[in-house]
């Protein structure tokens, strides 16, 4: 009787042992497969027992961590490649144009007025290259987190006014009548004044570039926060563009020559979020608006 029970126990235990060995060799095979192939796969198991289960779950967590690291690197690599392609394309066009005008100046036979005009055009092309490079540099720095912001209590009202006045010439040239509504007294926020200037500059210059004869700038206090809204009339932005507008290198109409790198709004967004604010874009009929909300200080 006792012997019978013992034999039964031995049989059961040997069978278990056999299952365990089979499971071990299956896991080894799976690990090798995952190691040799670039794959999303995780480990699976045939034995339904608590200890085995939790072992495989922990191993899978390890695999998930490795995958996460891999995708971060991969995405950064892709971003880098995309940046290089896009930048070299954007730089080529103004440089070719500038060098065309230089060639015409070399040939001579132009009256003084034409010469001046050409030099002005060359200057403009070189400026636009400089702007693009600066934006690129700024964006890369922001992305890689080396950009330190200096936090202080600042008057946004003053910054908005100063920045608008910097655009005076451009506004007059483009025959744009700005509609400005701001608070009487100072509007205090906590943030980096340079970052705020970049935000407002980037949004306004975008509004001038793509806007048509009207720009609205609104700054007001809300319950314990501030609300800044810069809008312009447009016929080129469509509803489908709105959700991508803050993505880097996004320019609305693919068939048009890019007038910018598509980095301006991406930079504005990075800065706004870094300083703890929210930024959003909306299109109502022909009015495109970007609004920023932030706590007041």
């Amino acid at each position: 009787m006792v012997v019978g029970i013992l034999i039964l126990i031995i049989v059961i235990l040997s069978f278990r042992l056999y299952l365990y060995r089979r499971q071990l060799s299956s896991i080894r095979k799976q690990v090798e497969f995952i190691r040799e192939n670039e794959t999303n796969m995780e480990l699976s198991i045939t034995i339904h027992q608590k200890e085995w289960n939790s072992l495989i779950v922990s191993l899978n967590k390890l695999l998930k961590d490795i995958k996460r690291c891999k995708y971060v690197t991969l995405n950064q690599e892709n971003l880098f490649k995309q940046t290089i392609t896009s930048v070299s394309h954007d730089l080529r066009t103004p440089l070719t144009s500038a060098s065309g005008y230089i060639q015409m100046l070399y040939k001579g036979g132009l009256d003084e007025e034409k010469q001046k005009e050409y030099i002005q055009i060359i200057q403009n092309r070189i400026n636009s290259v400089t702007v693009m490079l600066n934006q690129l540099f700024e964006y890369t720095r922001l992305e890689s987190n080396v950009y330190e912001l200096d936090y202080e209590r600042i008057d946004l009202n003053g910054i908005v006014c100063d920045t608008i006045s910097m655009f005076y010439d451009e506004l007059v040239q483009s025959k744009i009548e700005p509609d400005i509504q701001i608070e009487e007294g100072p509007v205090w926020v906590f943030g980096d004044s340079l970052a705020w200037i970049r935000i407002i500059e980037n949004i306004i210059s975008n509004a001038i570039k793509y806007g048509e004869n009207w720009i609205g700038i609104l700054l007001q206090k809300e319950d314990n926060g501030i609300y800044l809204r810069i809008s312009n009339r447009t016929s080129t932005i469509e509803q489908k563009d709105v959700e991508y507008i803050f993505e880097r290198f996004y320019t609305t109409d693919l068939s048009k020559t890019k007038k910018s790198t598509g980095l301006g709004l991406a930079i504005a967004k990075e800065f706004a979020i870094r300083m703890g604010g929210t930024i959003e874009a909306e299109l109502n009929d022909d009015i495109f608006a970007i609004s920023i909300r932030m706590k007041s200080a």
Binding site: F33, N37, E38, T39, N40, M41, E42, L43, S44, I45, T46, W52, N53, I56, V57, N60, K67, K70, Y71, L74, N75, H89, R92, T93, T96, S97, S99, G100, Y101, Q103, M104, Y118, I121, L254, S255, K256, T257, K258, K259
Partner: protein
């Protein structure tokens, strides 16, 4: 570049008629591949052969660069036109069945997947009472069990309303970001062009063309393409005479002018007057939808 799927002269014929005709398809890792063709063009048959649900009459298939298909097929998740679900089970029970079958140890995997495809609130509803869109989403959840590297979805937007289609697009983009290569077959172009990074066009079983997103945009960009002996000078003339900066210069020195498209002869005239030798000047590009329709009808088969 690593390929997830390559087929070599893949052919399937039923009763002497070629349904899939010597197809050489190449899908790169990381792509969202839009597989476009009319109904009955051979899309489903091809997907079935890749998934191992039908045997090729001729030709072969490489998955992840390997011919060990049974081993590599474990890395594929597939949904075929009419999702095969257990009609008397709920969404959760359907998934539970496969979780056991595949031996997936994580307890939370079902909840996560139901949430991912937006079926977390179906509770006790049996899958036979699901709408077609819900069935599609459940089928995708099943295909995602086991963390596939390659997802083949046959007409995944069939039976979805516009909102569902948008959700599906977002889901696919998210999966793609996690490193899953996706093949989507469809007979509607509009829903694909927003997310696909590569395309294959099939017509009567023949893969008539394969191209990526950039190539498509290049083909469909409407502009005047100009090739001259002196690009820099030509640009200065164009800027000067037409007052436009809507152009760019391609790496091979060709100019693309995006404005004045219906003034080709004027542009040509000014360039020639400016002492520039114009090698070629022509308007290129057409609209996306039209381009696809022509390909699918086999008109652009040159």
């Amino acid at each position: 570049m690593e390929y997830v799927l390559q087929t070599n002269n893949l052919t399937k014929s039923y009763a002497g008629k070629c349904v899939v005709d010597h197809v050489n398809m190449n899908i790169k890792r990381g792509d969202i591949y839009g597989f476009v063709g009319k109904n009955g063009a051979g899309k489903t048959t091809l997907i079935r052969m890749v998934a191992g649900l039908a045997l090729p009459t001729q030709g072969d298939i490489k998955l992840f660069g390997s011919k060990e298909l049974s081993e590599q097929r474990r890395r594929i998740g597939t949904t075929i036109e009419n999702p095969a679900l257990y009609p008397h089970m709920t969404a959760r029970q359907n998934l539970e069945y496969y979780v056991r079958l595949y031996g997936i140890p994580e307890k939370d995997v079902i909840d996560n997947l139901l949430k991912l495809v937006g079926l977390e609130n179906t509770n006790k509803k049996k899958s036979k009472n699901f709408s077609l869109g819900m069935k599609q989403r459940l089928a995708i959840a099943i295909a995602l069990l086991g963390n596939p590297d390659f997802l083949m979805l046959d007409e995944p937007t069939n039976g979805l309303d516009p909102f569902g289609i948008k959700e599906m697009r977002e889901l696919l983009l998210e999966l793609n970001k996690k490193g899953i290569t996706i093949l989507i077959s469809s007979h509607i172009l509009g829903e694909l062009s927003k997310i696909a990074t590569a395309y294959g066009i099939i017509n009567n079983g023949v893969l008539v063309d394969e191209f990526n997103k950039n190539e498509l945009m290049e083909r469909c960009k409407r502009c005047i393409k100009i090739k001259v002996d002196d690009t820099k000078k030509a640009i200065a003339i164009i800027e000067d005479k037409f007052g436009t900066v809507e152009y760019d210069v391609l790496p091979d020195d060709r100019i693309r002018l995006f404005s004045h498209i219906n003034k080709v002869s004027d542009v040509n005239k000014q360039l020639v007057l400016g002492d520039i030798a114009v090698e070629s000047i022509r308007v290129v590009g057409q609209d996306l939808e039209g381009y696809f329709v022509e390909l699918m009808e086999g008109k652009n088969n040159d």
